[in-house]
């Protein structure tokens, strides 16, 4: 989705109106860089042992792998306004959400490598990441995040706590009954819930036009009297402006919102995806909207950072990712009998 690129006075106006500070935006820039570096490094390690014959069981990272390169701004723009006590329920493509929620990058990496030092002691893996301390959960089942986040929101409201729950999901998941069921329940009970639909145009391989009777989720949300925002998901500032309002509204007791963020994943649905359903030209076109250089240009225009500052932030992020990956690679695998414990508490 293209919105008018703001002139400098308009950019200053938008940022001032949004309440975003220099520190927040520099922090956001570094998070974007960290997530990008994390996802690309995971892609690199995931590929080990999987060429020339692609075999999901081979190499240091097993199973499926769904990466969010290109979608970083959606997670970061929302995460800026969340506390550790707020809850996030994510999806099969969860790394950017986890990192934006504050999940430690080293334990996250270790879990993806199936190591004993991972978030879940190697029991969950890439699609089943949990961090109780940061109230982060996810599910590999499409459409599962909506009601679980609504349940956390219900608990917060029930106890009179000022916390918010966020459900992330794709536009494909929004076709699941849980989306509209949850919209109804959350609006009915005015739950402190924010549903973020990352519309990356494809549900696995199925283009949006082949699966959606109407082009936008906000149309559905409005049918349930749920406030909605249609945002440019490749623009950190646009996402953050909406997220700030939606989260503040939820926290203040005024009920749920939907943020529909149009975005794009540069990599396949999964690593190994042949991408028969789209062209390289389309991918390149979306790369022109890449959230990282866009935010960099704006920070520069605002006079809030120069090239050296931005390069320094990016280098720090890359170093943290490298440390985390090294931690994961050097960590021990779990003892086999760990598999036999933990069904019940």
């Amino acid at each position: 989705m293209l919105k008018p690129e703001p002139s400098l006075p308009d950019l200053q106006y938008l940022v001032a109106q949004s309440g975003l500070t220099r520190e927040q935006l520099l922090n956001a820039y570094q998070q974007l860089c960290l997530i990008r570096a994390f996802e690309e490094t995971i892609a690199d390690r995931y590929a080990i042992g999987k060429t020339p014959q692609f075999n999901m069981a081979a190499g240091p990272i097993r199973g499926e792998m769904h990466l969010a390169v290109g979608q970083e701004a959606v997670a970061v723009g929302v995460g800026l306004f969340l506390t550790d006590a707020d809850a996030v329920v994510s999806t099969h493509r969860p790394h950017h959400h986890a990192l934006a929620k504050g999940v430690p990058v080293d334990k996250l990496a270790a879990e993806i490598f199936g190591k004993a030092t991972g978030l879940c002691r190697g029991k969950g893996g890439h699609m089943h990441l949990f961090d109780a301390e940061h109230r982060f959960a996810c599910s590999g089942i499409v459409g599962a995040s909506f009601p679980q986040a609504a349940g956390a929101a219900f608990a917060f409201k029930h106890r009179g706590e000022p916390h918010v729950a966020v459900a992330f999901a794709g536009e494909g998941a929004a076709n699941h009954g849980t989306f509209t069921e949850t919209l109804n329940a959350a609006a009915l009970w005015q739950l402190p819930l924010v549903i973020v639909i990352e519309d990356n145009l494809y549900a696995d391989s199925t283009p949006k036009w082949a699966a959606l009777a109407q082009p936008h989720q906000f149309q559905r949300a409005l049918g349930y009297n749920v406030t909605t925002y249609l945002v440019d998901g490749m623009d950190l500032i646009d996402v953050a402006r909406a997220a700030r309002q939606a989260i503040a509204r939820a926290r203040a007791g005024y009920g749920p919102s939907v943020i529909e963020a149009l975005c794009y994943r540069y990599r396949g649905h999964f690593e190994g995806d042949g991408e028969e359903y789209r062209t390289r030209e389309e991918v390149e076109r979306w790369r022109q909207l890449d959230p990282i250089p866009r935010l960099a240009r704006r920070l520069t225009a605002l006079g809030w950072a120069d090239d050296a500052v931005l390069a320094g932030l990016a280098a720090e992020a890359t170093a943290r990712v490298e440390q985390a990956i090294a931690f994961a690679e050097q960590s021990p695998l779990p003892e086999p009998d760990e598999a036999l414990v933990g069904v019940f508490r």
Binding site: A87, F130, F344
Partner: protein, 345 residues
Amino acid sequence: MSMTHTITGIAPAIAEAIDQEMAQRADIVVLGEDVTYWGAVFGFTMGLFQKYGRDRVIDTPITEQTFMGMAVGAAAVGLHPVVSLMFVDFLGAGFDQMYNHMAKNHYMSGGQFAMPVTVLTAIGGGYGDAEQHSQVLYGLFAHVPGFKVVVPATAYDAKGLTISALRDPNPVVIFGHKLLTGLPFLPFEGIADEPVPDTPYTVEFGKAAVRREGRDVTLVAAGLMVHRCLRAAEQLAQQGIDAEVIDVRTLVPLDTATLVASARKTGRVLIVDEDYQSFGMTGELAFRIQADAFDALKAPIRRLAVPDVPIPFSAPLEQRVIPSVERIVAEAQALFGAPARATAR
């Protein structure tokens, strides 16, 4: 000395248990369809709405997957939801959130997230409700790791097992047989005016109850079938066969030791189940018993269950497939060499 009062049926006993726990604890909320005025239809939540109001006893939209998902999310942040799955037959509409999330999140998270959820559901036929409202299906839940499976046969057990469930940090599903509820609109085959302690108490999971001691044959059952076995035992006694009747009480965890001890004593075992026959409780119990009592068995273990057909509507058809007292007697006699009239293998 503890005072008692009398209760007829498991439904008021379950409701009393929830009431007594809710009065002591703020973390319990009741969710589901028709849980207020109608007491979850089968009486398990009767009276709670009048006492605790809609803040804690909440009618949900008819959206099993969404309110089961909400229970998962609410439990993850510290509530203990009591969720009504009105008829167990409706599990298809909500089972993803139950078997992929409720049952697994504790394990998948490496033990980080407790999942204290108590699910109440009504089971069984015998009153003409046919294929989609008469099933038992606890075997499905017992098959998936992560559910505790509770099948109360008496009011005393119903109250004590429910309090145990409400104090358990794991998902517990309580399967209450409709013909044991004691509700005026259904036949009743349980114990009338059963003495039950006034104060809260627990019945431990994984402890079977020997309902009748005997020397010649062991009848094993759960729920309604315990009572039919007891009636069958009376008839068998008139024929000089002294039957022991064991109520397993909980399928998960299962008290294998009590079953094996009884099998070793009598040498003959009949397992009676109102669930479908194949790949279910009868096969599992038979396997566990033979594994530790094979040398003491005087005859192959027999079983009587619903013979792998749906529960039909018309009375003679329904009576043909749900184990009856007469059929239990015949199957028990067959353990002594008499030809069984039943066709169950």
